[in-house]
Symmetry: D2
Subunit: 360 residues, 4 copies
Amino acid sequence: MIILLSQDAGPSAVITELKGLGLQVEVLHLGDRTGLYARDPEGQIPADSIARIPGVEQVMSMTPRAPLALATRESGGGRCISIGPARFGGGFVSVIAGPCAIEDAAALESIARLVADAGATVLRGGAFKVRTSPHSFQGGGLEALRELRAASRAVGLPFFTELTDPRQVEQAAELVDGIQIGARHMQNFPLLLEAGRTGKPILLKRHMAADVEEWLLAAEYVLTTGNDQVILCERGLKSGESHVRYLLDVGVVPWLKQRIGLPVIVDPSHAAGDWRLVPALARAAIAAGADGLIVEVHPRPEATRSDALQALPPADFARLMEQVRALAAMDGRQLATATATASAPRASETAGARNTAVGT
Amino acid sequence: MIILLSQDAGPSAVITELKGLGLQVEVLHLGDRTGLYARDPEGQIPADSIARIPGVEQVMSMTPRAPLALATRESGGGRCISIGPARFGGGFVSVIAGPCAIEDAAALESIARLVADAGATVLRGGAFKVRTSPHSFQGGGLEALRELRAASRAVGLPFFTELTDPRQVEQAAELVDGIQIGARHMQNFPLLLEAGRTGKPILLKRHMAADVEEWLLAAEYVLTTGNDQVILCERGLKSGESHVRYLLDVGVVPWLKQRIGLPVIVDPSHAAGDWRLVPALARAAIAAGADGLIVEVHPRPEATRSDALQALPPADFARLMEQVRALAAMDGRQLATATATASAPRASETAGARNTAVGT
Amino acid sequence: MIILLSQDAGPSAVITELKGLGLQVEVLHLGDRTGLYARDPEGQIPADSIARIPGVEQVMSMTPRAPLALATRESGGGRCISIGPARFGGGFVSVIAGPCAIEDAAALESIARLVADAGATVLRGGAFKVRTSPHSFQGGGLEALRELRAASRAVGLPFFTELTDPRQVEQAAELVDGIQIGARHMQNFPLLLEAGRTGKPILLKRHMAADVEEWLLAAEYVLTTGNDQVILCERGLKSGESHVRYLLDVGVVPWLKQRIGLPVIVDPSHAAGDWRLVPALARAAIAAGADGLIVEVHPRPEATRSDALQALPPADFARLMEQVRALAAMDGRQLATATATASAPRASETAGARNTAVGT
Amino acid sequence: MIILLSQDAGPSAVITELKGLGLQVEVLHLGDRTGLYARDPEGQIPADSIARIPGVEQVMSMTPRAPLALATRESGGGRCISIGPARFGGGFVSVIAGPCAIEDAAALESIARLVADAGATVLRGGAFKVRTSPHSFQGGGLEALRELRAASRAVGLPFFTELTDPRQVEQAAELVDGIQIGARHMQNFPLLLEAGRTGKPILLKRHMAADVEEWLLAAEYVLTTGNDQVILCERGLKSGESHVRYLLDVGVVPWLKQRIGLPVIVDPSHAAGDWRLVPALARAAIAAGADGLIVEVHPRPEATRSDALQALPPADFARLMEQVRALAAMDGRQLATATATASAPRASETAGARNTAVGT
């Protein structure tokens, strides 16, 4: 790092202190000011500690504040994660869709078929709900998970579900095709590590107040387990605005695609909190370069017990899928489809097996 | 409004107080609770005042908090504002482009020609800069305005410039084709009124911390002058994030188009603060339904004295214009172009005259 | 709830729909508008679902959005939680102090003694650190916990430590006097339930982006376990400002004291992120009515590996404790002290509840 | 500034480019990396422009981003601005109080007397209201200003009022003792300059979304006119929280007092938006070191047409003044009072500057 000394400080006391912390130091002549170049061989001394040494005016790190050793190891944008017929990245766009919570096994399969017919390639559904209030509906648990799996197998799509407790992971991992880490658990590091160790694809939602670095470092926790099947999902940031539930950070999509070798998708449903805004946000996301979407769809939203306002009716979803297909084509990408991937492994075959990264 | 009484309060004291304020009151039976329906014939008593009356537990307004009498008078989305060859709304998309500040008359015309050739239909340029610091470059003033006008006339595009002082408006209005009200002046009500009275089209930028209602009420100030040529411009919100300069509120575009009869455009340059993100944000805006864009373009950004990081190089701008044209076509809209509007009044003819709203 | 119908909608279709959802409905005459009063006997139908019924314009809940059955069951402000010599609330102010992370067993006892001598009544120290990056120092684990306990016993103060994994809780609970739930885990509901079940006092930090309702509902998760020893801790909110690390929400202190029967303390160290601002924030918190503080203190901050900028040097901490004592006295409160405990009311008497008397 | 080159870039092309911009450049050897030290003799080249030069990886400014030449010229905290009996800073605390808007001349004098009796030393009142909606009550204008002046003279207190239009300033300045620049006009630079030129004390409110640097640079606009009578006023920041109207940034008080030679006061009324929270916020502000307060007081808040929820009833205000007096005394400061003025040092002596001695 580069250290600028106060105008009234001589370098010797600061140098002594820095060497005591194990740093290697050289003096820099900066016009009428004096600076130091300090190298920390162990990488253990934070800039904040240096800043408290008397005589130090400014500390300038020469590397990004936090190391992103794993998330950036591949050059940006070319990488593809596939799960059954779904392809995220590498020129493919995929859409995950389904109801918010699993409330009714009978209805579930019909929703699954409906989103599959419209072109979704992954099914979503909440079994273990994260509810702000302990008095709200908490989801159907393992039973719901089994229903979700049955519906998934019936329509030939893999499925994702959110897990929230490291103690659930082992048992649930035998049933699911991918694990969603919800926004509120983005920095639940024990959960990230446990989920990562299953080797299943991880859909990592950004916390509604996390900056990009915190999000990528959460991905890094998963990557340290050796699991590189991480899909990042932007779902909107908390703000003071009330016309949308969360403010979709559409700019983070190109920012990430230019830097990070992980697919990035967008959840327009939780961002908008209002189904009438969902198609526009979804189109914006794909136009900005997102590798996919995760969308809540429900044939009878007024009868749901959670997030009724944001579920898209089936006809609107089908229309959106046409727009997504056209937008992807506009920049030479392709909407992954269950039928278009006849040669790809079928959902039911890959489920339970480790999916592989496809470098297209 | 509907007033819910505290469980231990009888209605009579509250009713007396409300009648004293000039309201008409009726009692509502709400299960085991008592409510009041109160009508305020003058519309002068704020809900907040009612809320301080002892015995009142909750006050529920039956109308949006602030009256938007003028902005909503036309049903959403169908209205078009045209300025020379430019068309904002009503199935047309237009792009305003140009440098941040006018620093060099010689260079200005070449930039103007460059953006015109790429398909922009309005020229932008700052003559009276709003600079955070009094020690920064403050813009070229009236002299810059005349240069801007000359370049505009030379290439046949109308131009917008930002005004910041009600005392400038009269003199400047004789030169400009449209007046931009910058984000920091969105609630400078004397300026809004003065600008509105010129009858010129007003580009009203949203403050980086304004909610939608505040923004629309600022538009309402202009509309009260009888000037209905108001174009709303979203340019990003202040946030705690640092990967973008401001967080583009892309969701506000469909929200407004579904409710308000004014065109809505987006400024991806100030939102991103980084030219590498500008094209993606611009595409997202059009895909979400925006009626146009305002983009900073500069052939040699590293030589500018303001906002160097966000200016798009000409080649990137030309590529973006192609994408905008294709995106507009996707949902049946059309990019307005100088050549495609041979029958429309030319910029130089409409300039100085009051432009009219076109209901297509 | 109260439902306002659209001006063009008749009530009958909406009433049919509402009755189909199990609601009881009565018509309200609101001037020239029609409303409905709907009662939901099961309390299962969210207002959001009602809002999607065609013909419904506005839905007004008559109760707070989320039930806070437990946190508010006692009337505001009078309740005291005591842990050894510490007393939070009920006219007492207590200060928790110590280093950020336990790095050095030898130094730990001397810090503990130092904060005890200055008047702190609880020791703090991190054993299981929540680090944003997997590559940062992760804390000393159970070993650090035992060192913390030894130091705590040596100086006669109880201690709190943060736990982050529900699987840690059982084993750690045997060692600690109180469990801290960190801001990032505020909505880690499995952890809240597990920690609550230990019966140990829970220090529940507010997430840096949580609104008050989310925070109280997190407390509610603990309270549902039957554990009512919950101390709320405000530690600042994420914002776009950079002069402080987080924006301390000092207004939440009186807001909570006026409504909720749980003690509220403030963490000025993490809020400020800068030791020079810590004393002012700490004084502000006590002047606003906080029941206590949690403060980072370190005799040699530049040698720490985490949060070096915010640790208060011992002399500054001692001076702050004098100010806290005087501020508490100004409104008739008392700083709890280790030596004053003998004559103070015992925990179990003031709290009217089971309590862990510890250590002294 | 210090420039870090990309690892694959040689320095010569960058050096050529920098010299072309008029900079003086020296090479720095930073371990295995290469840097440049560049001096900009004119101070005209922004770091952002440098950052766009190919081969530049990072640009590190060695000075704060914006020059604060004037606001910091005196060392922090010791300066006092006095207006009649009021003293802001230099060991004195003063309170400005009064109604939000002037609605009733008869009531005004009684409020004025009431706040004077309780210990306020400046009267406040809005004549030109800044109303979000053009349809809301806009204030009483010059007529209200004369009434305010009459009440002020009757009770022997100077008064402040907000001005919003540079064209008002000259005429209004003849009547007022101090000019308030409201939050929404903090970056209305023409207004700041016009107000500054009157030589009257300027109360500069921080915009609800302004960072500290923007606020200080707005002060700098006033200071450039030669008027150094600037009092900074923190009034809360916009946030996503709804339990308070704005989030009071209490930490900015010590931050400013440690760096800037201008008095800092706090407006707890607009921050809270709820009179029940005002006293706690006010105490917090003084405990954090604020040089004063500006408080809305109204004997019958439910009858006001603006900001009814935040006006403090007279009895609560009197109690608050006692607490402010005690808090100021705690750290050796003194509440300025109208009666104590006779023996107090005169304005021109303490401020070391021209000053408007007013009224009493």
